[in-house]
């Protein structure tokens, strides 16, 4: 990892549109730059996967999270680390918490999730956007919405709305834990 001399802000949440807006606000208010906003699917793995069609079989929560981790590694290598090394401001939205909350909502263990994202450097500032998740049928723009759409009915028998509600709850718990620590 390169030495951090820039400013690294992570913003997590389940509502993709709200997350993008919060990222823009955080970046414009950061007062340092130029840098950028790092969003999910920068490596294109998810958009390419969707293009593959349904015949390839539906991915599980673990498969989606392994892909998310691969994409996050790509973002760190090509977007986040180089900008920080040059003293710029980087806003990562979403970062680790959104994916970890989704994983816990899908019944995966905290230990497995912590190991999976062990490579991700901690952000200097962490925020969680608690916007209400959009209803089913809206075009998904965030990772949590995409993942809940993909897995509807295919994880623990949960519907998309049930899985989303569990993810929101897990994210709130993560925020509470972070508040207690700070």
């Amino acid at each position: 990892m390169t030495e951090e001399i820039g400013r690294f802000i992570s913003i997590d949440g389940v509502n993709g549109a709200a997350l993008a807006e919060a990222a823009r606000d955080a970046f414009s208010g950061a007062g340092r730059g130029p840098g950028g906003i790092s969003s999910w699917d920068a490596s294109g793995v998810f958009s390419e996967m969707v293009c593959g069609g349904d015949e390839a079989g539906r991915p599980s929560a673990r498969t989606l999270l392994l892909l998310y981790a691969s994409d996050l590694m790509f973002r760190l290598r090509w977007e986040i680390e180089p900008a920080l090394a040059e003293g710029k401001t980087v806003v990562a939205a979403p970062y680790v918490e959104t994916a970890a909350a989704f994983g816990r909502a899908a019944g995966l263990s905290g230990g497995w999730l912590a190991n999976l994202f062990r490579f991700a450097r901690p952000a200097g500032e962490r925020h969680i956007v608690d916007a209400v998740p959009p209803r089913s049928g809206a075009k998904p723009t965030g990772f949590a919405e995409f993942a809940c759409d993909q897995l509807s009915g295919h994880v623990l028998g949960l519907t998309r709305e049930q899985l989303m509600a569990r993810t929101v709850r897990q994210l709130a718990l993560a925020a509470a834990r972070a508040n207690r620590r700070s």
Partner: protein, 258 residues
């Protein structure tokens, strides 16, 4: 639809797995992994072994490393332009493996079939460890672990491997480990890389109790040895180690699988 909490569902499904595998009328499947460096001849042996098993009336399916319809295209396009870091390489292969475990391997084993895996997770462990990644991190990526009933390790020297692989073609960039060695010549790089992969395999063979097959022997001699080993070991199942993997798989759709 009401749903059970994950822990409850997993507990229920663990019991389902135990009951299913204790049922003498429905013998469980068998998972046989073929491992070894490139050029060790394991694919030839895998094909012969499958033909033999079918002639013995086993219901057999094969799964190959990096072959899922979902993930393989993602890996292929990224390998072609040499953009993968060691971690991305590892995570994408782990995703491919997970998808095949859930879509091909566990369903076949649940139905009582023999699954022959042409490379298993040990391939990922050996190659990724050579790429400098931590073995504990790697192993946990593959959880819940699914242990084969038999792992045949086809042992050859680095020289034999390099000789066989480079006799007809140039190894590809990642196959030659050029991302690790930074050597421009793929053949030189392959010789260096495969030696390190074999060292990792030999450590794994001890840790995970592989059955080592001397892959410098004739094809026929190896095949007959596989038959003997299979007959000796086919009733020594790894089922008790795999209850967690089956239980999680059954939980994916809320436990509705028959």
């Amino acid at each position: 639809m009401t749903h059970q909490p994950p822990r409850v569902l997993l507990r229920v499904n663990r019991q389902r797995v135990r009951d299913r595998f204790a049922d003498p009328a429905r013998p469980p499947g068998l998972l046989v992994a073929f491992e070894g460096p490139d050029g060790s001849g394991k694919t030839t042996q895998r094909k012969l072994f499958k033909t033999w098993l079918k002639s013995e009336d086993y219901d057999v399916v094969t799964t190959k490393w990096n072959s899922s319809d979902l993930i393989k295209p993602l890996i292929k396009s990224r390998k072609a332009i040499h953009v993968l870091s060691a971690e991305e390489f590892s995570l994408l292969h782990a995703a491919d493996f997970r998808h095949r475990v859930e879509q091909e391997i566990l369903p076949a084993l649940w139905e009582g079939k023999v699954v022959i895996a042409d490379r298993f997770l040990f391939t990922g462990l050996a190659r990724d460890a050579v790429r400098g990644l931590d073995l504990e991190w790697l192993l946990r990526l593959y959880q819940p672990l699914l242990w084969p009933d038999l792992v045949f390790y086809f042992s050859v020297t680095a020289e034999t491997s390099a000789e066989r692989v480079t006799a007809a073609r140039l190894p590809s960039f990642y196959e030659a480990g050029q991302d690790v060695t930074s050597v421009d010549d793929p053949v030189t790089s392959f010789r260096r890389f495969i030696g390190r992969v074999i060292s990792e395999y030999e450590s794994l063979a001890l840790i995970f109790n592989f059955i080592t097959v001397d892959a410098e022997q004739s094809i026929t001699a190896q095949h007959h040895r596989l038959r003997e080993l299979f007959r000796e070991r086919e009733r020594q199942r790894s089922l008790k180690w795999n209850i967690g993997a089956f239980a999680e798989w059954l939980s994916l759709d809320g436990g509705s699988r028959p």
